[in-house]
Symmetry: C2
Subunit: 209 residues, 2 copies
DNA sequence: TAGATTGTTAATCGATTAACAATC
DNA sequence: TAGATTGTTAATCGATTAACAATC
């Protein structure tokens, strides 16, 4: 996987969190925020906030704080969210359909351009204006819609094959929801999201209390 | 949040991963596995595998390896997955509906017992045999179904209120899909899953390459 | 026994936090 | 100026990895 040097993975996740607080603060009319207020809102330490930001530049004014709108814009730029991203979802099952309609993606700059499946019954149908295509036309549609991101929402046994096809079609980033480890070339960015594993953190901590 | 001493959070996530490989290996007839083979299958180092397991006991035989079935059972016990867990989903929107039908939960021991919403149009309906109830009867149903886990799939602005209700109803663990930090008492286990943030890791790494 | 692999210790690496000079 | 808050360094903390004795 491609990695920018020395910046902890967790920092990226926190930047995302900070940005959500910042836009909320700005919309409420709060123009200046401090590392302390960001920390309070997001559940981290003020030192952590300043350290996270320091990886990318100097965005504040000593003695004053940060301009909420400006810092928001800086973070969005850092996260690559200063543009919109067309996204393909592979798998028109329950999960794929839900993700295609999840508003949270759209709000942050992601547009689900199309959904792919290999079930003839589903091909040609639409999900809230998003077309479902056969996997055979993946490469063609990826080019047509300039898609760089793919979401794998197929069963585990099909995930690696789908990943290979995404890579072949020219996709650069993959979010994998299938409960299996897939492998991709070094120049492809991969992220696995295991919904059940998230619940398993809860059950782990709930046992033996 | 409740934490067992000294065990890294990441270890729990990896145990979940190991267990998936182990059951697959067992079902293929592979009775003995090594830390090396587990590592290869899950993308970690063999030392990491052994260290993760060592937090909980001695499960292998020196010179031989681990019995796949036995180690699987041990890990499932550690994760609290040696029993089934009734789960409530709050929010019958796109995400809530998809999660309620997501097979990955059922496979790992989670049963979605009921869905809650406050939209009168949705109350009384069913989603693949799961009833949708009004939030007003949350406490009653939590007791009836012995529910200990709740999944919040409502918009951000409603999330804290829903969390408070879940706690009041006696729920012990919460998975929050709303893009906001909610607060809960110390004895409640909370996990936030931000789907958009996962995509934002991809866009971060894809920028500036 | 020789070869293999675990369980564990010590070394290394990396992330977080505390502290404070810089400066508004 | 006095008070506040950043940006950054050094100290601390915690997780991962390497190495190896134990032992099958």
């Amino acid at each position: 996987m491609i990695k920018k040097a020395k910046i902890p993975d967790a920092t990226i996740g926190r930047l995302s969190l900070y940005s959500r607080y910042l836009i909320e603060a700005y919309e409420k009319g709060v123009t200046t925020v401090s590392s302390q207020s960001i920390a309070d809102a997001t559940g981290v330490t003020p030192a952590q906030v300043r350290k996270d930001l320091a990886y990318f530049g100097e965005f504040g004014t000593r003695g004053v704080g940060y301009n909420s709108k400006e810092l928001y814009m800086h973070i969005m730029k850092i996260l690559g969210l200063d543009k919109r991203w067309p996204v393909a979802i592979i798998g028109a099952g329950n999960l794929g359909r839900a993700l295609s309609q999840y508003k949270g993606f759209h709000e942050r700059g992601f547009d689900i351009s199309c959904i792919f499946d290999n079930d003839p019954k589903k091909i040609g149908k639409k999900l809230s204006n998003i077309n479902i295509y056969h996997l055979d036309v993946l490469e063609e549609k990826v080019k047509e819609f300039k898609i760089e991101l793919g979401i794998i929402a197929v069963p585990a046994q099909a995930a690696q094959e789908v990943a290979d096809k995404l890579v072949k079609a020219g996709i650069r980033g993959i979010m994998n929801f299938a409960p299996i480890n897939i492998t991709v070339p070094d120049n492809i960015v991969l992220r696995r999201v295991d919904l059940s594993a998230q619940l398993e953190y809860l059950t782990y901590y709930l046992e033996e209390i």
